[in-house]
Symmetry: C2
């Protein structure tokens, strides 16, 4: 998707301009390292597109856009500690490359950097931007806490799971878009519709993520196919399967959860999921959120032409890795 | 100091009004717990006094005041993880009472709460408030990183040490006061003078803290007298002593650092410090900062009468526990 490149250039320029002093090096070296690990920079692109949708030059939203990206990176640094993740984008995580205390503290500083970027936007927009951003930041933390709580629970319902992914990842997409709309002085109603578009594309995207973990083409998928099944991770696939399974299938799945042979475990689980129709059930839920997103977008009273970049981006997100 | 009580009532009311939902309980229970552990609430009092100094009703600065207190509590939760501290205000720390991941994440949420409080101030003041607050938040993190770095260094100079305590603790006192001045529409020059007053009272206070650790009246001191000496902590006392010691005294102090008998260690160290005049040297440096603070305050062109609460508060801080 070549049109994205022009956004990326602007975003990388702004990221490079963030003031990260040389000293204390244990505080700022990790941030220099982490901010250049790359990633798709989808969130800041959304902010820029959100501003452009309402006729405002993307450059006017660049500080807020990168504030969202910086916030996202802050959450990744702290999440990686909590999840004891050794790798991020195939490179060592901050708490592994340095240590945990440095990861906590450099994450904290990065969070302030997000607010510094936000504060570079026009004063007139600041109260609205802060309101969305603060609300979203809190929701993202709530989502992460729910995710951690779910690990030790065996009674997670599907609505609870969807609420967790909504908070942990999807609200930030809505926030990114809405901040662009705020900067473009869009009406409250249009801001809200754009937020809903982003939020539901985000939920659909996360459900796709759950599906791809088991059903992706191994040659194109960046990680081990079936990883969630092997580690008994709660995903929508797993929850849908347990909900729809008959008694026999349920006990088969429960037995499989302690299966040591990974290949066999994935193969057998896939077979039972197929009998149950777990994948199709997830796809239906994914499609629901995608449709909801598109409906929200269509309600914004603007020429369809203006919405094309957002539709293209959503379509791009929804077919990746598959 | 009874005049402080009327400030405290307002502050505790505002703290009690912070929205901390019931769920996820693992995220918000720790915050309910931590925010009611108490403390002197000196920082928010400073913000309220900063506003009053320039003739603005304290109630107009209450959100910013409590934002500073909430930020301070956020740093304590994260610092306690990094320092592996079991107790805070004689109660279990969050990472001990819950766990480390919960302490990281609930700290993060508390940080956002500080920004939410700040955003409740008038929009016209927001850009200036955010500028001071963000700058200070970054400096506090830099100070904490320097403090951690110092643990594994044997070449910490006195100016470096003073810079560390300035960043880690004193800038927040300056920030608290200056935010009050911003809300009262004080001039840039007066804002700066008030900041300097707070910062240098803060440095003097921290130096006093170092002195009291060894020279406090054991009956009045809340913790073990000599704790810093026993744990070989770098303090201004220790750095001054090493700087002023002759070769013989230096080697005696180095030998004492591995002394196992705590009582003997404290007693002998105190004796050598006394020969060297380490305490007097620290007191001179403390007095310098105190004088600097008072000079800054005196340069603010207002009746001396208006400054009395600030002078009283500074005097109160400078004689505590001794």
């Amino acid at each position: 998707m070549n049109e994205l490149e022009s956004y990326s250039i602007l975003i990388e320029q702004e990221i490079a301009s963030i003031d990260l002093p040389q000293s204390p090096s244990n505080l700022y070296d990790p941030l220099r390292y982490f901010m250049t690990l790359g990633g798709k920079r989808m969130r800041p692109i959304l902010t820029l597109m959100g501003a452009e949708l309402f006729g405002t030059n993307r450059a006017e939203a660049i500080h807020a856009a990168v504030a969202v990206e910086v916030f996202h990176n802050f959450t990744l640094i702290h999440d990686d500690i909590m999840d004891e993740a050794p790798l991020r984008r195939n490179q060592e995580t901050v708490h592994v490359k340095w240590n945990q205390n440095i990861a906590i503290l450099s994450g904290d500083v990065l969070f302030v950097k997000a607010y510094q970027l936000l504060a570079m936007q026009q004063g007139a927009h600041l109260p609205a931007l802060l309101e969305i951003f603060n609300k979203t930041a809190i929701e993202v933390c709530e989502g992460q806490q729910m995710d951690m709580d779910f690990e030790s629970r065996n009674d997670v319902s599907i609505p609870e799971y969807v609420e967790m992914i909504r908070l942990k990842t999807s609200v930030l997409l809505g926030c990114a878009l809405e901040m662009g709309a705020v900067i473009a002085n869009a009406s409250k109603e249009n801001r809200h519709l754009l937020y809903e578009f982003g939020q539901h594309v985000g939920i659909a995207f996360q459900i796709q993520d759950d599906i791809l973990d088991l059903y992706a083409d191994p040659d194109k998928f960046g990680k081990q196919v079936g990883g969630d099944v092997i580690s008994n991770k709660k995903t929508l696939l797993n929850l849908k399967a347990m909900e729809l399974a008959n008694a026999e299938q349920k006990s088969q799945l429960e037995r499989l959860s302690s299966e040591q042979d990974a290949v066999l475990k994935v193969e057998q689980t896939k077979k039972i999921y197929s009998e149950i129709g777990a994948k199709e059930s997830c796809e239906a839920e994914m499609q629901e959120h995608y449709t909801f997103a598109m409906n929200a977008l269509s309600q914004i009273q603007l020429p369809e032409e203006n919405k094309k970049p957002l539709v293209a981006l959503a379509d791009y997100l929804m077919v990746r890795n598959s």
